[in-house]
Symmetry: D2
Subunit: 182 residues, 4 copies
């Protein structure tokens, strides 16, 4: 199977991080990219809490979790960096969030267009080599996203760092089972 | 790391399956073993629905999902095959469920004792080679169990069958992304 | 409107209470009667927790909350007093529960038949004078049952005891609002 | 008990309604007033959905449900009418919402100050005569708010319109029980 490289993120600003995030800079890690809008009810109730659970569960050295604010409606309400910053603060979202670059004229933001996203939420997984491996509009079950992330983490025999090793193996040996970490 | 083989299941009866299930017969597949009691509220609200979601999500050729009814209290109420059968029917639980063998005298059922389970629910994962890899008393997050199952499925470069391949890779190629199956 | 007296409960045993409960003995109080089966999934997940919330919210001098175990299937599994007692213990149900009397021959239990219940859960409200005022098969919203109970409590200008007075009026006077009790 | 009249609402704009709402104009109806901020997570997940359920459950001739946008932080993000309008649209909130008037200088908005609200969400009930009867900061159970609303609806022997009558009495007469409306 020929895989497709994930297209570059085209952003104007990043929050929760000192400098802009590029997919290149995340090479070697699996990336969970959550495209959302702050006034998208399904994003607020499902996909963003899910992304935060993923951030909590996997180690930062294995999985990068980033958000992309793809504003394609209600620009006055949700189009400013200040509005997004307030939203991230109130919802305790601490992973890096980029603001998708607006188009030259009318239309959808640039990364959203490049990825041909159908709307928000859109959940994207990118493998350690930078290939696009999942793009899903709408809700994804927690068990499925957990399995998909781990499948990419374990691909090509990649070593997985401590926390995930623990996740996959609670230290059950001939001597017994260590207390589970989760 | 030296892994520990999962001890044999000691059961008196099996429901939802024509003949008794042994761990040997499941060799080559990852096993999710859910130990429960039909009157355990946490089992009913969390761990059994989770096991059913796992049954739905993963293919039967990769993952075996089985239950173990480890009755250690309220024997009159939940100790009969008829009571368990009625419970499984009402809760639409369709995977095989074994009844843990009672002890010779007083005490806990035999498999529960052999595994040194602390109570119900206890969630157990066994790898394709029959080693015990997770044993957890209490609630496990869906995202974690999904990741743990996939980690074992992908271990040793095992090929994973269709559905999981799809789960891990929604068919995104140079030509686009296939519609997600979930 | 001519109201219809609630028919007598025909029971064989009562749990969680030293002696049998009759509707006559509850006259003067509004009665929430929850008909259920211990293996009815909708009863376990919705109607019994709702009855427990009602028990918590309203005062015992205003509202009587009672259960009725109307076993019409899986008699071996759920037909014994021991099974029901174990269930009530595990689910922390502390209000009185009667066991609906079995029919002479085949058929539904006697109270279930007298009330022409369609199945479980069935939620019933009886007013202070003993009239049947609500009978609903299936799920009822919490906000609705709260409103319905209060409507009956306030009927005929009945005085409502302390807790409900507080519920209806958090003590807001010219001097301010007292801290809410809930 | 001497009741305290609810203080006037001090607002700059109203959405979802052609002209400004005053408490005087609602006299004769019970009022559920939900004070919120669009970026308040607890308002979005609990109190606003609850207010919408109340709007659905009770008739408009008995209960007025109104919102009050009491912006006391993140003014840039949530301080504009456009931002609020977009929020109401996305969350399908259709009851009237007023924008609490900003203070002359620094400080909290005017209605919020007059009511001495501690924050958002704040749930307020006003009786048919315009008296403040409940003011609660934080989460209120559905069953409780249902009971509190009904207590005020039934106060002073007020006739309650069709839907609530049905809510309180599913038409059970000597001839049987009419099918429940909910």
């Amino acid at each position: 199977m020929r895989l497709r490289p994930a297209k570059p993120l085209q952003t104007t600003e990043w929050l929760n991080v000192p400098e802009p995030v590029t997919l290149e800079s995340l090479r070697g890690r699996v990336v969970l990219l959550e495209a959302f809008q702050m006034l998208c009810a399904g994003c607020v109730s499902h996909s963003l809490p899910q992304a935060m659970r993923a951030r909590e569960l996997f180690s930062k050295s294995d999985l990068a979790v980033i958000g992309l604010h793809t504003v394609f409606e209600h620009h006055t309400a949700q189009g400013s960096k200040e509005a997004l910053a307030a939203f991230l603060h109130e919802y305790r979202i601490t992973f890096p969030v980029g603001i998708d670059a607006p188009p030259d004229g009318r239309g959808l933001p640039r990364t959203m267009t490049a990825y041909q996203m159908q709307g928000t939420p859109t959940t994207i997984l990118i493998d350690r080599q930078g290939n696009l491996r999942k793009q899903k509009f709408g809700h994804t079950q927690d068990m499925l996203i957990g399995a998909e992330i781990m499948a990419l983490l374990r691909e090509d025999g990649s070593p997985v760092s401590g926390q995930q090793q623990a996740a996959a193996d609670n230290g059950c040996t001939h001597d017994g089972c260590a207390a589970p970490t989760q």
